[in-house]
């Protein structure tokens, strides 16, 4: 299971990678913004995306919208500090499958990933 993590914070990418490794997902690739995420996605093999919202170059919402234009089925989890209802709804409308507000616990991330993967 190859997972793409898109987040401009190197600290946050490390934390997510570390958490994924602890729950059994070690095949992970990283991108620091949406544009780089699209490039990584284009290289193929990605089966799930975990993305931040607030990023330079291309933010998470635009990234999700572009991804959904060509890939309607890949599971996408948004992990962000944005916790207002209108933000969550906007992300869901853009095509996010589920939503986690930072700071998260490993258990929350595990639960969301497992529910997305069915």
């Amino acid at each position: 299971m190859k997972i793409l993590i898109v987040d401009d914070s190197s600290t946050m990418r490390r934390i997510i990678i570390n958490t994924l490794s602890r729950i059994g997902y070690s095949d992970v690739i990283e991108a620091e913004h949406g544009k780089a995420g699209l490039e990584k996605l284009g290289q193929g093999g990605v089966e799930m995306i975990i993305t931040d919202w607030n990023m330079p170059e291309m933010d998470g919402l635009e990234f999700v919208t572009v991804v959904r234009g060509s890939n309607p089925s890949i599971p996408i989890l948004m992990v962000t500090t944005n916790a207002a209802k209108e933000d969550i709804v906007a992300a869901l409308q853009a095509g996010v499958n589920n939503y986690v507000v930072k700071p998260f616990t490993p258990d929350t991330l595990k639960e969301k990933i497992e529910s997305l993967l069915g």
């Binding site: 190197s10 490390r14 934390i15 570390n18 607030n54 500090t81 916790a83 207002a84 209802k85």
Partner: protein
Amino acid sequence: MDQSEIDALLNTGANKPTGKSKKAKETPSETPIAAPKGAETAADKDGQVISEIDAVTAVTERETNKVMDQLDLISQLIAKQQDLVTRVMQQPDAQAEGVQQALHEIMTSGKTIQDKVYEAMDLMQFQDITRQKLERIVFHLRQIHDYIIELLGTGLKSEGERANISRTIAQTGTTPDEKRTHADSVVEEFKRSQQKG
């Protein structure tokens, strides 16, 4: 990084010559009304604050990653220790009940330390959250800065001082506490409405 390095980094950002001052000298026609000296200084200070906050977020991210490196190292050492203890437990000479019990306790405490290391790693999320809160402050400071400059009619903008903030920070960013909601309930509500539709 010690305090002197942090100060040096901050001073580099703060004392960097700004494009706007240069532009003002090169294009006097763009400054129909001369800004009062005190007000211009206040605007310059806004620019400095933006640079300083940007530098602080960069420093804290780098330093947080150093802490993460140390935690990673501790985690690896504990894993190595656990491996060694497991091997010792299997040795014929270590089968006495007291020895086995002691080794078992070492294993248990090692697991506890590992869990605490993971918890500490998870707590490092504060860095990203604080960074985004600071970016929000930078965004608002920049708005005030540009407003003052525009008000004074100097034609000066803070383009040269752009900190590396997210494009959508104005609309989103770290959500103020009074607007925070429970994500799971919103997701469930959205999914139900989609199913009905």
